[in-house]
Each structure stands twice: as C-alpha cells, then as structure tokens.
Symmetry: C3
Subunit: 342 residues, 3 copies
C-alpha cells in the first residue's frame, strides 16, 4: 500500500464531513517581506507598522491575501488534488487580522455535492475556515470545485446544492477591532480619494503591467504550501507549461490596483470570483476595477467599497463576449469588499 | 478624471517645494534575508548580530543599501515617473543605522531646475531625506534627473543649478554611535587587511561574476516598492527587454566587492555615481574598485576609505574611451566612503 | 599582491590544522520564509511554532538543512574554491536545534590528506563544526573533496586516511532537549504513519516533481553565502550552464519526501551521501526513499529511522548500473537518520 497521499475523489466526500487540513503554518516578518518581493504591493496599512498604528491597530497585520493563500493552500491536498476545475467562491469574510507570529490551520466542511451527468465527475462545495493558534476564526469562505470520481460506476450521492449569498451583506462584514481612519494620512497612503470620491459604476484602469516569471509564481505558491503538481512540474501537462496558481493572479491584480485605489486598504469580504483563463509565465498581467457598491459600516469614518477586480493578459478590452463567456484576455473576475476612509 | 498617478512633469516642480513621498515601509528580518538571497552580500557586520555587537552596535543593522533603496523607491512615483534619465548623485550621507523593525518614509526638496534647450525636458535636482519612525534622518542625498515637460509650450522656470560638493568631506561623515573596531575579528570578517594596507590608487579586481535573472531583479526592485514600469513590463520597451533598476547593479557590485574589500564594512557617504550603460537579464556582472582616498575619522581606529566601485558587463577592460564617454561594458561608476579598521 | 581570496590549494593543508571560516551569520524568520518559498517544505515541526511546542520545543527551530547549508556555505572559500569534486560525507550529527536569531559560525579541522597518483590533485578530509553564538556545537560532519595542487612539483604529504563510521550509531544520535511525540497530532502532521508502520527495505516513491529555475537555485545558494563561481557565473563553464549547488538538490528531495514520510520530522544524522550527477536549470527533480534501518532512541516514543533518499532527474528507474556506477538520471544518493513517532 502506498503511503503517499492519493487525495480525495468525489465519492469520498459526505455532506457534513469536516476535514482538518494538514500542516499548521506560522507566518511572520519573512512572509511579509516575500509578499512585497513577489507582488507590487503598496497599501500602506500592510507596509508600515507606524501607519497601521495610526489607524488604531497594534501593528501592521499580514496582507489579507497572505491569510487567504495560507488557508487555501492547506486545503489543496484534500480538496484539489483530483479536482479538474476551481468553479467559484462565495461568502468569504475576513474575521480577524493575522499578526506576524500567528499560526494558521484550516478545516473544511462539505456543504454540497452534485454528480455531473457524465458520471465521471461531481461538484463539491466546502466551507473552509482558517483558525489561528488560539482557535479564533480568521477567515471563512465557500469554494466549489469539480472533482474526479475514482470509480465512474460508484452510485451518485443525493444532490445537495447549498444556497449561497450573491453578496456578503455589508452588515456582516467584520471591522477589525480598534480600526479608525480618523487620523488617516492621505499623503502617506499615496492618494487623496475617500469613498465619497468614487461613483458606483466608475471604472479605474490601473495602468501598470507585470510580466510574470516561472521562479516568481513557483516561489509564491510554495510559500503557501500549495503543492498542486500542475504549478511546479513542467512535465505534467502535455504542452510543457506550468499553470500559474489562480491566487497568484489575485495578488498581482490586487497589488496593481493600488494605482487608483490606494485607500481601499483592507479586504474584508469575498463575494465571488472566477478564474476566467489560465496564466503562464512570460505573459504580462494588467488590471482594472469597477466600483460595484458602497456602504457605511458600524465604525464611523470606515466605509466599505464593493469592487470588481479584473486581471487581464495584455491590453484587450471588454470582459465577456456576446455568448456570455469571458473573453480570452481575461484572467480573473473577482468581486470583493474593501474598507476605506468614507 | 483619472485617479491613477500621472506623475510630476517638469513644470510641476518649484524651487523650495517639499514632496512627502507615499507609503511608509517597515523593514525587518525578512528584508535582510531577501537581501542575502538576491545579492552575494557577505560583509560581516550586516550578516551577524554577534559580530555587530562586537563592533559596539546593539545588533546587526540592515544593509546601508536597503536603506538607500527603500528611501529611493518611495521617490519614484513623484520624481522618476516621467523621467527620461537618472543623471547623478551627490552629497549622500548615511546618518543613522536602520534597525530591523524601523519604519522609513522619505521626502524630497526641489533644489534646482534647468530647462533643456530642446524645450521638451528639463533637469530637476532634489535633496531626498529618509526618516525613521521617530523622525530621525537616516539618509540624505541629492539626485538629479531629466524629466519630460507635459506641455513643451510651457514657459521655462528661472534656472537654478545648485552648487554641490564633489566629495563629502571626511569630517561630515557620521560614525554610528558606539561603533568601535577595537575588538575586530579579522578572521571572522574574512580578510586581514586594514585601511593602512590599502594604497591610494590601488585597483582591486573582485574576480567573481553573477549572471542576472529577470525574477531576481524584479523581486529586488519590488521589495523597495520601486514601481517604474520599465523594470517590470516586458511590453513597455519596443525591444521587449526589461531595464534593470540601477540600484540592483549597485548592490550586486558592492556585494561582489567583499572579495578584496571585506573590511570596508559600512557605507557612510555617496560622493557621486553614474549608471553608464543599461543592464539586462542574462548578462554577467563583474566589479572592480579603486582606492581614491583615505581619511581618519573622529573615532579612533575607524578609518574612512573612499572607493570608486565600477560594475561591468563581462570582462572588458577600461572605464572611458578617448572621447571621455564610458565604454560599453561599463554599467556603473560609483564614488563612496566606507568605514573600516584603520 | 592581490587582496582577493585565492583559496587553499592541496599543499596548503596540514593534518591537525583548524580553519576558522569567515562571516558569521544570524539566521531568523526571513531565512525560514525563504526556505518555504524555495523548497516545497511541509514537515510540521518546522512549519509551525504551535506544532513544535506540542512536541516539547520552545518554538519551531529552523530547518535542519538551513543549519547544514549555512555551516557548509562558510567552508566554501577555504575548502571548495580550488576543489574539483565533492567526494563524500560521513559522521554527520545535528547536536542542537538552531533557533531564529541564532548566529552560526563554522570551523574545519583537517583530518586526512592523500595526494592522487597524477600529482595534480589530492584528497582532503575535514571535520566541520557549526557553532552558535554561545559556542555550542549545533552540527558536526566529515566531508572530503578533491583539491588542486598549486604546484604539481610540490612534494606529497604523508598519506593519512581517516577511519570513518559507515553509519552513525543510533546511540550517538542527539535527541533535542524536551522533544516528545506523546501529544503528536497525526492529522496536522499530514499522515497517519509511525515508525512501526514502515518496513526495512520499503521503498516510497514521493510522486511529485519540481522543475528548477536559475533564479531559485541562485537565491538559495546565495542565502547560504556559498559563493562558488560555478553556481552563479554563466560564463564560467564552457557550456554556459550554471551547475546547481548539490545542497539545493538535498533540500528539494527532502521536501518532496514529505509525501510518504511526513512524520520523519527531524534530521539528526548524516551517514553518507553522493552527488551522482549534476543538475541544471530546466530539469525536473523527483525523489524516492528506501527504509534502511529503524532504531529506538533514549527518548520513549521517539524513533530513529534510517533512510536512503534518492533524487532523480526525470522518471528513470534504478540507482546503479551493472558497472556499479550511478545511472545518469540519479542526482543524489543520501543516507540519513530522522526522528519520528515510534
């Protein structure tokens, strides 16, 4: 019997099953520095302890996407090893900042199952929770993937499709304890715009482009202990290309969005997201954002802005074709909530 | 109106104008480790807390060039975005070590303006100061760049060309508080030579070469939050090449200079510097140094050595041609003061 | 006279000579993060402070191979600069964990000398010790290399070939103070297997492959301040290839071995090792292990498993040909002891 991990197949999942994912991870100063080396990240609250303290926090937390990637990475050996597609995200909420020195674990509960009509694959919905070393939940989100069946002849489970919110309600967003933008220094943050300066429907082209290298996306993906073969082994795909982890595109696009959205400081909600087309090394990533909504939060002066963040490969325009499908130059279509001075 | 940063054009600068640059940055253990991964840095004082303590410091400071790159990087969106050339440096002084956990900001004062005769560009001189979280100045230097005019028809400002020292006077160099080479361990430092062993005019070939990769220079440049497009976007230049940040060459050459100048521990003055030719990935960087001067400092046993540090692309000999221009293999010609056991 | 390091030649070594290697190095959080970015490392004890504390340690130590590479790297300017081949390792023991913030130095004693019959080279055996900032030994191993003679006419020294143990005796392995697997969480560690579940002779294919990039191996090798030209300078070899540091292969293979040996947590002994064939960027590294032996240690519940770890370039099968030589796809054949729940 082999001792290596064969991963879960579709028929291994049961509604209500809770999977504790392996390998807890302490994240600290080193991960922060690497994040700044791998992505053009400049949001001041994650760059400077002094700036974070002026915003009422004890120090600069680790980037919200470090929390996301670390929690996500742990789920890969149990959820994605035999997955054929990452279909969607919903109901994502950041519940507590992650501080340097915190140790993260994650666990997933199976909340939906639906066999596909071809009998070879099925869709699995999981709610994944990230926990810190004292058991506090730092992140929670739903993700669904298409997973291979081990045995096509295995009987289909009862279909359960969870009802998921299209958007996290603003009142469900968690504002980090102590956060205040009363003493916010717009000069240091890099731009003068507060939430009131953005119109719903406004589109911002983030201008800059980043050409991606193999070493960079592999280092990033390894850092999150995401071990999916397709990202690392050039002999795995027939075309000899290494598929870049979708989360690398999320981080690149979010970092690029600083130019025009420098004050959209903290990510607190993930409403949805699609990895529209694959990215490979050598391509150049650009990004644009659209303001989808704005809301007040329970904390005076702290507004929540809902943004569509689109990453593209090159200069192509538009999002979807007449057939409703993403155009070939679109890499990512992400829908999230961020906090900014209102 | 676009919310992204259009940068400053020549006519936006005024003599006496002070620009507070955006995005404060906390630098710590992670930046130190990355510095050692990206450059072959071996000067013992920046490699070992124990060695630094034996030299009278509380711990190992961050490399002087981490301070330089971080302070410099912040100026890029305001000074270099529409710059066409980085023309020179002068009067650079390191005023206080940067310790892990310090937060750096920077600001620049416009001290010179001169429109070029073509009417399309002008030269801007700025004095840039790097400050830590308690407002202490850690670094100060003058830099001048050639910047595009937004509107060639805009009237030329009054010409002001600052008078700049050719060399920082030895008595103006700041010796870090507590520094002492009395208990200096030459074995651990790597070489037996003190300042007295070097002759003015002596030339040292640093022997080793480093072939540069795209991922490395981009990671380094991002780490300093220097976002100039030309370093990251392979579609920006017509030839599809990414121009390597000149500071990457400085750090490579300084690290290579360990071999022959292992005891030139701390950089305290920058007299001048020219980025003679561009560097691109795939090229191999070498370096040589020339001893330009030697001076005592106010601290007994701590000498100041003035060095020309030349980085080259490949094995070519010589610095300038008969026409007084740098030869094509010369990348960098830097003139700096370092502290070493006298 | 040149001030750069010419390295030691064969006739410079004397039996009993102790060489204190240069450049002490403080290793901390940043090195840990980079290790996780450069290698697919997942052993829980090095990934999580909380997990390490549950195993009786004060926090997560730095990876045993960080200690090895750092200690080894310091020896390169004195031992390997004029070496033509790295011939073997023996009697390696990890004596104390390395904690973030520790400063490492290393020194080597010459314990064997044998001139080769060609008169141009000789074999040098050294016992290298790694020490921390309070002088505690953290690592000790024997290594032998083939070194050039400066002058082929120089007389041969008396031949001394040290007697070296084929295997470190289990009773000589040092169990870190406080280590206990009594509260070991196999879920979090990633696999359910204890030492009793492994059979002597069992072979485990670690399944995954990693395609290696130039930027990655150079960053890793620089991080350990290993400055051998052949790893960094593409103009050094006639074929324009940069030879990858053998230790990079060790770390890659050890990290890959998580899949099937997730509970072989700590490396405590190095019995031997051969770098069978060179690795170059673009190649894909895989690994398999064979269980060579098992032993109890003085600490109840903590077993010692002796493993052969073989790294390969690609899918080829087998280790040695009929001629007793390593097959061309074999990169590394390492023999080590690890601690795991018994």
């Amino acid at each position: 019997m082999t001792k290596t991990n064969p991963g879960y197949f579709f028929e291994d999942y049961r509604i209500g099953q809770v999977i504790r994912h392996a390998v807890p991870r302490t994240v600290a100063e080193g991960e922060r520095a690497l994040y700044h080396a791998l992505y053009p990240a400049r949001h001041a609250l994650y760059s400077s302890d002094a700036f974070a303290q002026d915003c009422g926090l004890e120090s600069s937390p680790l980037d919200d996407l470090i929390a996301f990637h670390t929690v996500f990475g742990k789920t890969v050996p149990d959820i994605s090893l035999n997955a054929r597609a990452n279909l969607g995200y919903a109901e994502g909420r950041w519940l507590s900042p992650v501080w340097p020195g915190d140790t993260l674990t994650s666990e997933s509960e199976v909340i939906g199952l639906k066999e596909n009509s071809n009998g070879k694959t099925g869709v699995v919905w999981v709610r994944t929770r990230g926990l810190n070393q004292v058991g506090e939940e730092v992140l929670s989100y739903v993700r669904w993937v298409m997973v291979l069946k081990r045995d096509p002849a295995a009987p289909a489970p009862e279909t359960v499709v969870p009802e998921l919110a299209k958007v996290v309600a603003p009142e469900d967003l968690v504002i980090p304890e102590g956060l205040s933008f009363d003493g916010y220094d717009f000069d240091l943050a890099g731009e003068p715009y507060r939430m009131a300066d953005y119109e719903i429907g406004e589109v911002i082209d983030h201008v800059d482009g980043v050409t991606v290298e193999e070493a960079e996306h592999m280092m990033a993906t390894r850092l999150w202990q995401n071990t999916a073969k397709v990202h690392f082994d050039a002999t795995f795909r027939e075309d000899g290309k290494r598929l870049i982890y979708g989360g690398h595109v999320i981080s690149l696009a979010r970092a690029l969005s600083f130019n025009g959205l420098a004050n959209a400081q903290m990510i607190v909600g993930l409403n949805g997201g699609a990895h529209a087309n694959p990215l490979f090394a050598g391509q150049t990533v650009r990004a644009w954002s659209e303001v989808l909504d704005k809301a007040e939060t329970g904390t005076p002066g702290v507004g929540a802005i809902r943004l569509r963040l689109v990453a593209t490969n090159g200069p192509g325009a538009g999002l979807k074709g007449e057939d409703g499908k993403y155009l070939p130059h679109v890499l990512l279509d992400l829908d999230y909530w961020a906090l900014m001075p209102s």
